[in-house]
Amino acid sequence: MRVHLASSLQDALAFKATEPDAWPIAGGTDAMVHWPGAHEMHERTWLDLSHLNELRTVEFRDDFVELGALATYWDVIRDARFTALPLLPQAAATVGAVQIQTRGTWAGNIANASPAADGVPALMAYDAEVVLGSRDGGERVVALADFYHGYKQLEARPEELITAVRVPLRAHDHQDFIKVGSRAAQAITKVGLAYAHSSEGWRIVANSMAPTVCRCAAVETLVAAGTAVAGPDDLADAIAEDLTPIDDIRSTGAYRLRVFGRVLYHALQPICDSFS
């Protein structure tokens, strides 16, 4: 195992430029699971970001919020300004328990690219953007909704690090984050939904329902068009177009499709006239 303890963002980007295979580590809450016996982890070169205070930032600007790459769930939960973006503290509070929330970062949640990630759907429902930095390429901004090309396939070049996440500040008249797991605390999502409605339209995002967290284009279109929906089954075709959940140790694809339809219907029925 080799370890580079980055002393500044510039130093980290320079290291990543010369060693693109190096694995960044921030809060370690994904990287360190199974660590003692995970021999492939010990073969890696690690790039420690944890001491880069310049990334441990939360800045409210005029029309967006910027979460530095080391901003944690706890930083958001304890910051009252996030009542403007309530899905973020709501999602953060469902991640593991306090000991995970104090360490886990939003950027790490994005980069880890689990289909079950809970931070990602909340961010995606708000049209968040990922800010990527590299030594030679400067800054590149990619919409989070376009960030995943497939299971653990990221729109990030080997020499790039995530430096920040930007979340537009918009007025939302409807929004919610719903997580279905085996128990209330410390459970991985079996079926997840985040949605938000603003003057930009509907954003309906699913997690644990496809190889990546993703927006549900067909469902968004159906809801925006005001197509009559008399019950969860009327959503099934659109959901099947958008989502391909799998069977795994936590659940089955059939269960996930059925529950997602019901969660979505009961979330939107009170707020959409087209839902009866």
Partner: protein, 154 residues
């Protein structure tokens, strides 16, 4: 930068420590086996159980998920800093049975006691949800936590 030990310095229970750690050593391993603070326990080793909870820069942290080199320059507070008087209410309330979870429970509980403003946002059971206990059924744990007067645990 190779497989060599890494020199780190950190505050442990208010005392500056300087030592060399193996790159793969976790904070938990260093506490238990390098500096003779075996009070912190290992349960699951993967962030689920909270037995290894310490306060890192004042916040509850699972020391099994922290590479020791990430503790450089930080303040670490462990169960070794706690006196019997600090936990007298817990001893009366039946907070501990087999004791495997107890060091972690005590550290999270002391953080909650020291930050009573958190109770405006969370209930105590939420704050303690990352500390699993197979013995007490949790009521003894909740009863053992000293809340500011006027606050009732549910």
């Amino acid at each position: 930068m190779n497989d060599r030990p890494i020199q780190i310095e950190f505050q442990l229970n208010g005392e500056l420590r300087t030592l060399e750690v193996e790159p793969r050593a976790r904070l938990l391993d260093v506490l238990r086996y390098e500096i003779d603070c075996p009070g912190t326990k290992e349960g699951c080793g993967e962030g689920e159980c909270g037995a290894c909870t310490v306060l890192l820069d004042g916040l509850p942290t699972n020391s099994c998920l922290v590479p020791a080199w990430q503790a450089r320059g930080r303040e670490v507070v462990t169960i070794e800093s706690v006196t019997p008087e600090d936990v007298s209410r817990m001893l009366d309330a039946g907070t501990t049975q087999c004791g495997a979870c107890t060091p972690g429970v005590v550290m999270t509980a002391r953080w909650a006691e020291a930050n009573p403003e958190l109770l405006a946002q969370f209930d105590l059971r939420q704050l303690m949800a990352g500390n699993l206990c197979r013995c007490t059924g949790y009521d003894g744990i909740i009863d053992g936590i000293e809340l500011p007067s006027g606050q009732e645990a549910d």
